[in-house]
């Protein structure tokens, strides 16, 4: 009796499930019946996270990750490489695990996008068709923004704002500098990749100078009057590197208009600075493929819908990470990862013919003022008036007054965060 009852219940369940599928299937668009094709361009924190999230949410989706580099070199913690505290090898990650998870990895550059035909042209002349496209191209450095600062100048005055050879070049220049030399970092106006990055870099370079070349100085020439975690950084400069770090704000004449690579000179409206080591962080815009796709606006960045991350100007194309204008959300690896998951959920929902719900996103940025001195800022964001806005009262920054033990713990959390996010995305 028991057996027969079980069988009948199972029959009932499978019959009702079939009925449900039939009832649901008819009103859906055609692409929901076959597996939707999603292409993700860019294999950094945003793109790789999005490809994996898509596959996890719906294993039936055909997910392709287009990324010409076989190895990804991460920017978070690359300031430690510059300061001689870390090997660049620890920044490198491959795509083997991503390929093994059922994602097609195409190691070619995407060169064209036909938004009407929904195809991506690749560097070898072939093309791929998509139902939805995700762009996570990161940044392009604007070599037209500072007079004299072009790609050739970057070989003399490194930006080190894309991790890799540039990171090592800046490291080598610091190693070669005499004790008593002047290091100058130029910081751009907002928005740019990693808002606390220039100031963390100043700290960690100062840490190296204090340890190895204590008569040296570091000046930050800034195109802004305020920056992320400002008081925490300024306190750290006073506490850890007294007399060594000087910040020149916009209203103090800090905006660099031009550079002379022949003499390593940085030119402002009110004076010139000649550096032994000049680290020029130029203004930026969305990675080139975003403009090719027609997803950029006159700012050079990509306006997006804050619920789906779909481009405001290019239908069926979503933009995540540093390339998008995410309102109050900063351009960070953490943000890119959070946006990737939100976008993947939205795409899976859209291809199933439903409307995605409004998301909440989190960002946390750790910075190191010294190897054992961490500070952080966290925020929660939600769509409001067509943009991502701060959730009032959520998030916060490290306290201004804290013990060195507290700062050391935050430095540990920073290490743990990096290990966690890279394991999730590439491991």
């Amino acid at each position: 009796m028991g057996v027969s009852r079980r069988i009948s219940r199972r029959k009932f369940c499978s019959a009702s499930a079939a009925a449900a599928v039939t009832a649901l299937a008819s009103p859906l668009p055609a692409l929901a019946q076959s597996a939707a094709r999603i292409i993700v361009i860019g294999g950094g924190f945003g793109g790789a996270s999005c490809a994996r999230a898509l596959k996890q949410i719906d294993p039936k989706l055909q997910v392709t990750l287009v990324e010409p580099n076989r190895t990804f070199t991460a920017c978070p913690f690359s300031n430690n490489v510059i300061a001689g505290l870390r090997s660049i090898e620890e920044q490198k990650f491959g795509y083997d695990k991503i390929a093994a998870s059922g994602i097609t990895v195409v190691a070619l550059e995407a060169t064209t996008i036909n938004a009407a035909a929904r195809t991506v042209g690749l560097a070898d002349g072939t093309s791929l068709a998509y139902d939805r496209l995700v762009l996570s191209p990161g940044i392009e450095l604007r070599f037209d923004a500072l007079s004299g600062y072009d790609e050739a100048a970057a070989a003399k005055m490194p930006h080190a704002w894309k991790a890799g050879e540039q990171t090592l070049l800046l490291r080598k220049q610091l190693e070669a500098m005499d004790d008593g030399g002047l290091v100058v970092i130029t910081a751009p106006a907002n928005p740019f990749r990693c808002p606390p990055g220039p100031y963390e870099r100043a700290c960690l370079i100062a840490h190296y100078l204090k340890t190895k070349k204590p008569r040296s100085k570091l000046i930050i020439l800034d195109a802004k009057d305020a920056f992320s975690k400002q008081r925490l950084f300024q306190n750290a400069w006073k506490e850890l590197y007294p007399g060594m770090v000087e910040w020149v704000s916009l209203s103090q004449g800090g905006k660099v208009n031009a550079v002379d690579p022949a003499t390593n000179t940085l030119i402002t409206d009110f004076g010139n600075h000649t550096a032994q080591v000049a680290n020029v962080i130029p203004p930026q815009r969305a990675g080139r493929i975003a403009a090719i796709a027609g997803a950029t606006d006159n700012t050079g960045w990509c306006a997006i819908d804050p619920v789906t991350f779909e481009s405001r100007s290019a239908p069926n194309i979503h933009v995540i990470g540093d390339a998008c204008l995410a309102g109050a959300m900063p351009k960070s690896a953490f943000s890119a990862n959070a946006q990737a998951k939100t976008c993947a959920n939205a795409i899976a929902t859209l291809v199933a013919g439903r409307s995605p719900a409004a998301p909440k996103l989190i960002n946390t940025c750790y910075s190191l003022a010294a190897p054992d001195y961490g500070i952080s800022i966290a925020g929660v964001y939600h769509p409001k008036n067509g943009l991502l806005a701060d959730v009032e009262g959520a998030g916060g920054v490290s306290p201004l007054e804290a013990s060195r033990d507290f700062r050391a713990r935050e430095a540990d959390y920073a290490q743990s965060w990096f290990a966690t996010i890279t394991a999730e995305v590439f491991g």
């Binding site: 009057d225 916009l250 209203s251 103090q252 004449g253 409206d269 009110f270 004076g271």
Partner: protein, 106 residues
């Protein structure tokens, strides 16, 4: 604390056209903003900038609420003799700042 930045060439040839740059740090609060409580933020702007050379006015500008913080001026003049440029910024709430720079003309 207000502070002026001035860029005037230290020397020039008689008849040269020179560029003068100035930047005065100032919040330039427009008067059109409101606090979260709804209370208006009072206007606080620089209203006038003047440059004199050896006592004679050579450049003047009136400033208005739409001008951004830290007003930056760049202007040109012809130099005929050595002397002193004097700069003056006047604004709301009794704001008044001066600066000067000398030039030697050959």
């Amino acid at each position: 604390m207000a502070s002026a930045l001035i860029n005037v060439p230290a020397r020039a040839k008689r008849g040269d056209i020179i560029e003068i740059k100035t930047l005065m740090s100032h919040i330039m609060e427009s008067g059109y903003r409101h606090k979260a409580s709804g209370e208006a933020v009072p206007r606080d702007i620089i209203t006038s900038f003047t440059c004199r050379f050896n006592g004679a006015e050579i450049f003047r500008a009136d400033l208005f609420p739409a001008i951004a913080a830290n007003p930056f001026f760049s202007f040109f003049t012809t130099v005929t003799e050595s002397g002193k440029f004097e700069f003056e910024w006047i604004g709301d709430k009794g704001f008044s700042e001066t600066a000067s720079a000398s030039i030697s003309v050959e």
